[in-house]
């Protein structure tokens, strides 16, 4: 039992080191010969952002709105109205902005893009496309990985902002419907006093880290495919599960550290 636990822990640490090494390599490629392939790399980054972020906008707005509606409706049902009015802003700030929004957007990015990136890189690796790029003097880290890292991280951060905005908007509408708050100015005042700058910073740091983790895990598993095509779905599945697990662990760790 102890030996099995030790083996599991060592495997996890090894993987974490691999993810970190991959992230460092990608970050270093930004600094090394920055003009090399910059036009075509920029295009690849734009494509990834469109796929991971822009195409997901309606879904994010929809889910953020629904979650906010249920949260505010619950608050309205289980709290006396005056008390609810005073704590609603802080509830929204803590639960939505600091905790729910970064994790939910990470989950949405994982569901939409993590598996897709792992499958795409898995096929590229299996078909010899990554190696073919190297034979052309094209740095795969810069051409293949950098756009996915930037795209997924930008998507997670951007969608987090959008999620918060949509949730707050939907929360306001629901609060007015339930008669908790009478006007936008009252709600805004509550939110303004309850939403501290540290909440925004923590949410930003979380979404930044979640984006990096999702990218590192997806790229690592995609590139791990070698000669066996049946590895592709297995790796994609592992990428989804691991990305979600690591985001949850990091999220909880940040919450505990910043209490």
């Amino acid at each position: 039992m102890l030996r099995a636990s030790g083996r599991w822990l060592l495997a996890e640490i090894r993987r974490l080191v691999s993810y970190s090494a991959l992230t460092v390599l990608v970050a270093a490629s930004l600094l090394r010969r920055p003009t090399e392939g910059h036009g075509i790399v920029r295009t690849q980054i734009a494509r990834q952002v469109v796929f991971s972020a822009w195409d997901a906008v309606p879904m994010v707005v929809f889910i953020a709105g629904l979650l906010s509606v249920s949260l505010v409706a619950l608050a309205a049902t289980f709290m006396p109205s005056l008390e609810a009015t005073s704590v609603l802003g802080r509830v929204v700030a803590l639960v939505l902005v600091r905790e729910l929004a970064p994790l939910m957007t990470a989950i949405l990015v994982i569901l939409r893009s993590s598996g897709a990136v792992a499958v795409e890189l898995g096929y590229m690796s299996w078909r010899g496309e990554i190696e073919a790029l190297e034979t052309l003097g094209i740095d795969p880290i810069k051409f293949v990985l950098l756009p996915r890292f930037v795209g997924l991280t930008a998507a997670t951060v951007g969608m987090n902002l959008l999620f918060c905005a949509a949730a707050v908007g939907a929360g306001l509408l629901t609060a007015q419907t339930f008669g908790i708050t009478s006007s936008l100015s009252v709600f805004r005042h509550n939110l303004g006093t309850m939403l501290l700058p540290s909440d925004v910073v923590i949410a930003f740091v979380k979404s930044l880290l979640f984006g990096g983790v999702v990218a590192a895990v997806s790229c690592y598993h995609g590139l791990s495919v070698r000669d066996d095509l049946t590895e592709v779905p297995r790796r994609a599945s592992r990428a989804l599960v691991e990305a979600l697990s690591w985001c949850t662990v990091i999220g909880v760790a940040i919450t505990l550290i910043t209490l």
């Binding site: 090394r32 003009t35 090399e36 392939g37 036009g39 075509i40 795409e120 096929y123 590229m124 078909r127 010899g128 496309e129 190696e131 073919a132 790029l133 190297e134 034979t135 052309l136 003097g137 094209i138 740095d139 051409f143």
Partner: protein, 217 residues
């Protein structure tokens, strides 16, 4: 005459495929084929010359660079002047043929965009692939993908071209395209090393053929 490719006592083993104690010299502008039935082992040889594999023992020098000790960045730089065509071509599946051929030119930024488009269009036209230039690579037959991989490899006008098994996946039409490409390369004085199991086809592409009969030794 200077050697473009110099293999000295090369040994490498990967699974059941392996080459042992092979020495070979390909002079500048020369086209050489290493022919034999054991294509996986021959592929190891050409992959070592492309810097894709490190030999277990021995030394490989290409265009004056010792690949046994070269770091990754040196290899990436070297490959701007050393073209490589793998058995399956390795085209980017989600890009069109045109984008694939333009890719190395656009990445390395040697030419303005209009000149890149013109050069890619010229290569595709000469190979008779203009009509399919805008189709995505993954929707095209393997033969066309391989021919396009050839065009992509020569787009940067390399000084050395390395080819794994050029006859693989090619029907008569594809072979004609590849023959024409090799004819142009020879006219330009490009050094070529190919490995193949089809002796006749290899002889059409090269000046000198080395036959390996029992394993690659």
């Amino acid at each position: 005459m200077n050697a473009s490719i110099e293999i000295d006592a090369l040994s490498i083993q990967r699974g059941s495929a392996g080459v042992h104690d092979v020495s070979l010299r390909v002079n500048e502008g020369e086209a050489v084929a290493v022919v034999g039935d054991d294509q996986p082992s021959l592929t190891l040889l050409v992959r070592c010359c492309g810097g894709l594999l490190r030999p277990d023992r021995g030394r490989v020098r290409v265009a004056g660079i010792d690949l046994s000790t070269a770091d990754r960045r040196t290899l990436l730089d070297l490959r701007r002047t050393v073209g490589y065509v793998s058995i399956h071509g390795g085209l980017l599946a989600n890009m069109s043929l045109r984008d694939n051929v333009e890719l190395p030119l656009r990445y390395h930024g040697h030419l303005p965009p209009a000149a890149i488009a013109e050069r890619a269009a010229g290569l595709l036209h000469d190979a008779g692939l203009s009509a399919r230039a805008d189709e995505r690579a993954c929707t095209l037959p393997a033969e066309i993908q391989k021919c396009a991989a050839y065009l992509r490899a020569v787009a940067l006008e390399p000084r050395v071209l390395l080819v794994e098994d050029p006859s693989a996946l090619l029907h008569p039409r594809g072979r004609t395209i590849v023959r024409d490409i090799h004819r142009q390369l020879r006219a330009r004085g490009v050094t070529v090393l190919v490995t193949d199991d089809d002796e006749d086809f290899a002889a059409e592409l090269t000046d000198r053929q080395l036959t390996v009969e029992e394993g690659v030794r």
